[in-house]
C-alpha cells in the first residue's frame, strides 16, 4: 500500500492560477454593476475575493480527487483482472439481490401520502409524471436513438385533448386518457413521416421546430385553443363518481399516477426485451447493419415515434387533470430539454436509470429551495457536473440476460 497521494507545489500553483483566472473572468459581471440611466457605478470588490478563493479551493479539491483516482487506478492495475468490476460503482447487481430493496422502495411510495403533507404528495405526483414522460422519451431517444427535442409537443397534444374534450363535451378523465394516448401517437407518426430521412442533429432541430409549431398554434389559434388565456376548470380524475375533498383527490391522483407509472415501466420493459425492442436498439447502434439484418427502419422509427408520443399524450391528460388549468406556457422548449436531460442522465435506454433521474431532477429543485434564488444556477451546474462525472448516465444500461442451457 502506498502512502496517500499528496498535493504538490504544482497543484497549489495551478489552484492559485485558476483562482486568478476566475477573478478575471467574473470581473465585469460580478464586480461592476452599472445604472446606465443615472450613470452610476457600484463596485463590489468583495465578490471578486469570494470568486478567487472559492474557485481556487474547488480547483485544489478537483486535483486531489484526480490524484486519488489515479492512485486507485494504479492500485487496481496491480490487482487481478476480475476486480475491474469495481470500477463501475453503479453497475446493477443481479435481480434477486435487488428484491428486498425494491420492497423497501415500494413500501416508501405506498405510505408516502400518510407520512407527508399534501404538498409533498403533489410534488411527488409531478415527479412521477416525469417518470412517465422520461420513459416515453426513452423509447425514442434511448432505445431507437432518435434525438427528439420537441417531445413536449405530444405532452401538449394530450393535455389539450383532455382540456378541449372536457370543455366542449364534458368528457371525463378516463375517456380522455386513451384518446390522449392515441392522438399523441397519431401526432408522433405525423412528425415521424417527414423526418425519416434526417439524421442526428438535423432530426433534433426539426423536432425542436415541430414542438415550437405546436405551441405557437396553441398560442395563436384562439378559436381552437383559447390562446394564452388557456382552458380552466378541467375536472380532476374521478373514481366511480365519488365526491372527494381536494386533499383526498390529491392522494388519489398520487396513487393513480403511481399506477400509470408502473404500467409504463411494465410496458416499456416488455417492449425493450421484445423483437421490436431489439430492432430499435439495432437501429440506434448501427442503422446500416440494422437494414442489412432485414429490419424495416421506416417502420421501426415510426413505431418508436408513435409509442413514445403515446405516453407523452397520456401524461398530458394526467397533467391537465392535475393542474385543472392548461395554457401554452407550460409547453416550452425548456420542458423538452428537461425531459431529455432525464433520459440522458438516467443512462440512455436504461429503465431504472430514467426512473431515478426523473425523481432526482424533479425533486432536486424542490430540495434546492433552501438556496432559493440560487436554485436554477445550481440546477445548471449540477447538470454539467453530472455529465462530466457520469457521461453515460447514472446506470450503465442493462440488456436482458438470457439463461443458458448448461
Amino acid at each position: 500500500m502506498k502512502s496517500p497521494p499528496m498535493l504538490t507545489n504544482k497543484d497549489v500553483r495551478h489552484a492559485v492560477l485558476t483562482g486568478f483566472w476566475f477573478m478575471f473572468l467574473t470581473f465585469p459581471l460580478l464586480v461592476i454593476k452599472v445604472n446606465p440611466t443615472e450613470q452610476t457605478v457600484t463596485w463590489r470588490w468583495a465578490n471578486m475575493l469570494w470568486v478567487g478563493g472559492v474557485s481556487a479551493v474547488i480547483a485544489l479539491a478537483c486535483r486531489l480527487v484526480a490524484t486519488r483516482r489515479a492512485g486507485r487506478a494504479e492500485l487496481l492495475r496491480q490487482m487481478p483482472a476480475q476486480t475491474t468490476h469495481e470500477l463501475h460503482p453503479f453497475a446493477l447487481p443481479s435481480r434477486d439481490r435487488l428484491i428486498p430493496l425494491f420492497g423497501v422502495i415500494a413500501l416508501f411510495f405506498i405510505v408516502f401520502p400518510f407520512v407527508f403533507s399534501a404538498y409533498q404528495v403533489n410534488i411527488m405526483t409531478t415527479a412521477l409524471m416525469y417518470v412517465i414522460l422520461g420513459l416515453g422519451l426513452n423509447i425514442v431517444v434511448g432505445f431507437a436513438g432518435l434525438l427528439n427535442l420537441g417531445y413536449v409537443a405530444f405532452y401538449a397534444v394530450g393535455a389539450y385533448t383532455y382540456g378541449l374534450l372536457h370543455f366542449h363535451f364534458g368528457l371525463g378523465f378516463w375517456a380522455a386518457l386513451p384518446i390522449g394516448g392515441l392522438l399523441g401517437a397519431l401526432f408522433g407518426v405525423m412528425l415521424g413521416f417527414p423526418v425519416l430521412r434526417l439524421r442526428g442533429d438535423y432530426l433534433a432541430i426539426v423536432t425542436l421546430g415541430f414542438g415550437e409549431i405546436i405551441r405557437l398554434i396553441l398560442e395563436n389559434w384562439r378559436e381552437f385553443s383559447q390562446g394564452p388565456s388557456g382552458i380552466a376548470n378541467i375536472a380532476r380524475p374521478g373514481l366511480f363518481g365519488i365526491d372527494m375533498s381536494l386533499e383526498h383527490s390529491l392522494v388519489y391522483q398520487y396513487y393513480l399516477t403511481i399506477a400509470i407509472a408502473l404500467l409504463t415501466i411494465f410496458v416499456v420493459n416488455r417492449l425493450r426485451d421484445s423483437r421490436i425492442g431489439r430492432a430499435w436498439f439495432a437501429l440506434r447502434e448501427d442503422d446500416i447493419a440494422c437494414q442489412a439484418m432485414g429490419i424495416d427502419t421506416t417502420a421501426a422509427k415510426l413505431t418508436a415515434f408513435a409509442l413514445g408520443a403515446a405516453w407523452a399524450g397520456m401524461a398530458g391528460v394526467l397533467f391537465a387533470a392535475k393542474t385543472t388549468f392548461i395554457n401554452p406556457a407550460s409547453f416550452t422548449f425548456m420542458e423538452s430539454a428537461i425531459i431529455l436531460c432525464i433520459v440522458v442522465l438516467g443512462g440512455m435506454g436504461s429503465i431504472i436509470g430514467v426512473v431515478a433521474a426523473a425523481l432526482i431532477l424533479m425533486l432536486l429543485p424542490e430540495y434546492l429551495r433552501a438556496v432559493a434564488e440560487y436554485r436554477m444556477l445550481a440546477f445548471g451546474a449540477i447538470l454539467v457536473v453530472m455529465m462530466i462525472v457520469r457521461p453515460r448516465g447514472l446506470t450503465s444500461q442493462t440488456r436482458r440476460i438470457y439463461h443458458l442451457p448448461h
Binding site: R275, R278, A282, Q291, A292, M293, G294, I295, D296, R399
Partner: protein, 262 residues
C-alpha cells in the same frame, strides 16, 4: 441447373464516376463463389448494390431459390432483399456493440419472426413460443461458431476474430439462401482462418451459396468453386480457380500494366 442469383448489366454511377459498368454475375445453388480484384475495383460497391444499400443506376438482379419462383431484387429496399434471402457481412465489422452477443444474432431473426407491439406487451402464447424458438435457434448458431459461452457478453467486448464470426452468425440467423461475405478473413491469424474455412464449407453443406470478397488468394483458391474477377468496375474474367489463375486479363490487372508494356 437454374442459377440462384442472376445479375445482368448492373451499372452504378456516383456523380460522373462509373463504379460498376455492365456487370453480369450468375451464382449456382450450393456453391462457394469468390469475387476478387484489386482495391477499388468495385467489389464492395457490387455488394452494396446487391443488398440494396445503393440503388443501382441500371441493370437487373433476381434471386431464384430452388423450387421457388424468381424474385426481382433491383429497386427493393435492403430489408426486403434480406427477407428475400440475401444476407451479408461488412468489411469493417458492423455489429451492434452495446447489445449482447446473443441479441446480435437475435436481431438477425427479425425478418423471420412476426411479433408486433401487441405481442411485445401482452406476450400471448404465440409470441412466447416464437421468442423461445428464436433464442434456441440463435444459441444453436452461437454453438456452431463457438461463442455460446459469451452469449451474454456485450458484442464490443469480443476479440476481433470472434466479432467476425459473430457477424457471420448474425447473417445466418436471417435464414438466407445466399450469404455475402466481405473480406471475412481480414485480420485473422492462420488458426482462425482455418476455422473460418471450415465454417464456410459447413455453411455450403447446409445448402447455401456463398459469395465472398477476399484478398487472401490461397484461401480463395482452396475454397472457391467459381471465381469472378473485377477491375475498374468491370467483370474482366470468370471461371474455376485454375482458369482464373491463368487468365491473361487477371494477370494484367494484378501485376499491372508494367509487365504488359514490357
Amino acid at each position: 441447373m437454374h442459377p440462384l442469383l442472376t445479375v445482368s448489366g448492373l451499372t452504378m454511377d456516383f456523380g460522373g464516376i462509373r463504379a460498376l459498368d455492365q456487370v453480369d454475375l450468375r451464382i449456382l445453388p450450393e456453391k462457394i463463389v469468390a469475387l476478387i480484384g484489386p482495391n477499388g475495383a468495385g467489389k464492395t460497391t457490387l455488394f452494396n448494390c446487391l443488398t440494396g444499400m445503393y440503388r443501382p443506376t441500371g441493370g437487373h438482379m433476381a434471386l431464384t431459390p430452388p423450387g421457388l419462383p424468381e424474385r426481382r431484387l433491383h429497386g427493393l429496399p435492403p430489408y426486403r432483399i434480406t427477407a428475400a434471402g440475401l444476407a451479408r457481412t461488412f468489411q469493417n465489422i458492423r455489429l451492434f456493440p452495446n447489445m449482447t452477443v446473443l441479441e446480435n444474432v437475435m436481431v438477425g431473426r427479425h425478418c423471420r419472426t412476426t411479433a408486433k407491439v401487441f405481442g411485445a406487451i401482452f406476450r400471448p402464447a404465440a409470441t412466447v413460443r416464437e421468442e423461445q424458438e428464436t433464442v434456441d435457434r440463435c444459441l444453436a448458431l452461437l454453438e456452431r461458431i463457438g461463442l455460446v459461452d459469451q452469449a451474454n457478453e456485450y458484442a464490443q467486448n469480443l476479440p476481433y476474430g470472434a466479432q467476425r464470426r459473430l457477424e457471420i452468425a448474425r447473417a445466418l440467423a436471417t435464414s438466407p439462401k445466399l450469404l455475402l461475405l466481405d473480406e471475412p478473413a481480414a485480420g485473422m491469424n492462420p488458426q482462425e482462418t482455418v476455422e473460418l474455412e471450415n465454417l464456410i464449407l459447413s455453411i455450403r453443406e447446409d445448402g447455401l451459396s456463398i459469395l465472398l470478397i477476399e484478398h487472401d488468394m490461397k484461401l480463395v483458391m482452396r475454397l472457391s468453386d467459381h471465381i469472378f474477377v473485377m477491375d475498374y468496375g468491370r467483370m474482366i474474367a470468370e471461371g474455376t480457380p485454375d482458369e482464373v489463375r491463368r487468365h491473361p486479363a487477371v494477370i494484367r490487372a494484378y501485376l499491372g500494366e508494367v509487365e504488359a508494356d514490357a
